[in-house]
Symmetry: C2
Subunit: 405 residues, 2 copies
């Protein structure tokens, strides 16, 4: 286990993230959805707290809770008054090491997972992005944490407890704290709370396949959801910031290319974006536009055209604007304990070290039009994956294999 | 015009909100949706900037933009490096006083408004809440800013410019700034930028009717969206914090009644909440649950039961937890320039003055179980309004008039 901490003594608050390497990528076909269910189940009784006492204890401490399950991790996070940091970490120490695993609580947790699945059914934007990830990343890395109704139905308390035994472990767990705290006290407190957490051997992980390159999900609506993605570099790659800057020029700010070309000039959609997504060893660009069915083909075509034209080069004025946005972002991250706690955990996972704000600023300073364009020459957007949800299937570039969902 | 400012000298950032009393409540049947369209149109060229130069200028300053249109206001807001505050306010001074009002830009803005409407069509949670507001507040106060496809289609440049002439005016406009700035400099700069903005007479506002008390919108899905609301007090009412605390006990935190009874114990839904909403002279409680169609009736029944039982009294342990959450919230608001700028503008609009953090903390300290229960005895939840979107109409309490949408 690694404890990361950054002091922000001008704050009265603190934020923490407990980041456990028991994400969806540890699942298999036989227990798909288990990380998400486990994340709920362990909160229904642990240590001296029953289910009700657990939520009451955290509410009594005024903890604004966050966290959830991703491909990589189960994360428990929160922001709170600095004086309550120690007690709050104590509750999470119980949660990860001493869950009660009561069977009737398991059934309640499962019901919440079913409801989460149902709520997602109506969210077509999310559905498109969930499908896109499965076209880019192999199972289980591309799976959404909710699983499917059938896989959640099949989960048993034994399966969930086995997953806990295998993967909820101090090895590679990160606890990240930012805000107002005393380092010596924090270090000793965390050592006392988590020092007895036993390492576990883990297991070989499953690796499956991806979805076809074009997936169309028929849906009777006047709106069509277009998701478009392609492979890129992960955060740990030396070229990551070149890729990130190129996508920033495509999508960050109202003067960005996608916003300008797809929304402002052509009025094709209300929402359009592209973002860099990174697993530990694989990265991607994930883009989306929600548009009317009659203009969906044009929307996809313009998005593809914009990505295809990107290797022709970015301009100095575009980069100047992007750097101004990056610099604002760095300063604002530095002013928020929650952002900082989460960024530090991300740095440790992806890079094995923490970047200071000065280092981030220097990295941004060193990006030039030439470095971005050299990267784009070497790694132009290609091998697109497309998901559409709507009334009509679209024409996709030749070479993209297709299937109806 | 009023300039509000709170210094947070430990920050490198600043945040601002320009809050103009030209919200949806100034619209009529004949120009419904115009505030939202105007908000887009004025950003497409003003002062020395054409449409493109405007977004480039703000991106060059690294402004993270916010804002939008509400029942009360058109708001332009942003967070940025403190050193760029003056230049950024200069751009917004052009925007409110010197928009270009070019006709072809009007058509582009209209296209974006259509796309926004279409994107909303698929968001049934939002649709339910949009309908609920129209059951509680009379037109135009209950209207959603997007209008309808027919009303947006009918808008012309002349209509939008007339709305600007009538309502986009310094009278009652609030500029709120929080963060790192020099007060003398800021005051003089704002005076120079906005000093010549001419007051305008305004017009008599339209006041229409509400939707029926139960509205069911048939939709073929396994999910049903349940929105439930009733009248409450506005922020300016001396009882507001009693009402707010009662609803906090219903919905703030995982130990709250709705979360516990509807989601955790019965597994009826993934999302359930209730919140206090306030216009200037009228307030309401707006609640929501998204659930499966077969459990929708039970979900509505449990929500109603929880509200009906509220006047039987809240408990000390519930209030203790809620106060811990309120106190965390006050501290975190004080640490964020954006939150503070937005809260100050809200205070000025609702109360005509700014509450300090100390005053807010004192208000929270003075809430007791007895003060909440006395309020609930006097003003129990009643006269419910219900919207459902889903496959089946639900049974609603007797006395609620109904219509199918």
């Amino acid at each position: 286990m690694t404890l990361l901490a950054e002091s922000m003594p001008w704050l009265q608050s603190a934020a923490f993230a407990v980041v456990i390497p028991a994400g969806v990528h540890r699942e298999e076909e036989s227990n798909r959805g288990v990380a998400n269910l486990l994340c709920d189940w362990v909160q229904r009784g642990c240590g001296d707290y029953d289910s009700r006492q657990f939520v009451e204890a955290l509410d009594n401490l005024g903890v604004a809770r966050g966290g959830g399950v991703s491909a990589s991790h189960i994360t428990f996070s929160g922001a709170l008054l600095a004086e309550h940091l120690g007690s709050t970490l104590g509750i999470y120490a119980d949660l990860v090491q001493r869950p009660h695993f009561l069977t009737d609580e398991f059934e309640d947790a499962k019901q919440v997972c079913f409801q989460e699945l149902r709520a997602l059914e109506d969210d077509l934007h999310q559905q498109a992005m969930i499908t896109l990830r499965r076209q880019i990343y192999p199972d289980p890395w591309g799976w959404h944490p909710t699983g499917t109704p059938a896989t959640v139905e099949a989960l048993t308390p034994e399966v969930a407890q086995q997953f806990y035994d295998n993967w909820m472990r101090p090895d590679e767990t990160i606890i990240s704290v930012a805000g107002n705290f005393d380092w010596d006290q924090l270090r000793d407190h965390v050592a006392a709370l988590f020092g007895d957490w036993k390492a576990k051997p883990g297991q070989k992980s499953y690796l499956g396949s991806k979805l076809p390159e074009y997936v169309h999900i028929p849906f009777d609506s006047s709106q069509t959801h277009v998701a478009l993605g392609f492979d890129s570099v992960p955060v740990s790659d030396p070229d990551f910031y070149q890729a990130r800057a190129a996508i920033g020029i495509m999508s960050d700010g109202m003067s960005s290319r996608l916003f300008s070309e797809v929304r402002e000039k052509r009025g094709l959609c209300y929402t359009v974006y592209a973002s860099c997504h990174s697993l530990k060893e694989q990265g991607s660009v994930l883009a989306y536009a929600g548009t009317s069915t009659e203009r969906a083909q044009e929307t996809l075509d313009v998005m593809l055209q914009q990505f295809n034209e990107l290797p022709q080069g970015v301009q100095q004025d575009e980069l100047t604007r992007l750097k101004a946005r990056f610099k604002s972002g760095i300063v604002m991250q530095q002013e928020s304990s929650s952002s900082r706690a989460s960024s530090m955990a991300g740095d440790w996972y992806h890079l094995g070290r923490i970047r200071t704000m000065d280092e981030l600023a220097k990295t941004v300073d060193e990006i030039t039009v030439d470095t971005i364009n050299a990267y784009l020459q070497k790694s132009p957007p290609s091998h697109y994956r497309v998901t559409t949800i709507g009334a009509k299937k679209l024409e996709v570039p030749s070479g993209i294999s297709s299937s109806d969902a």
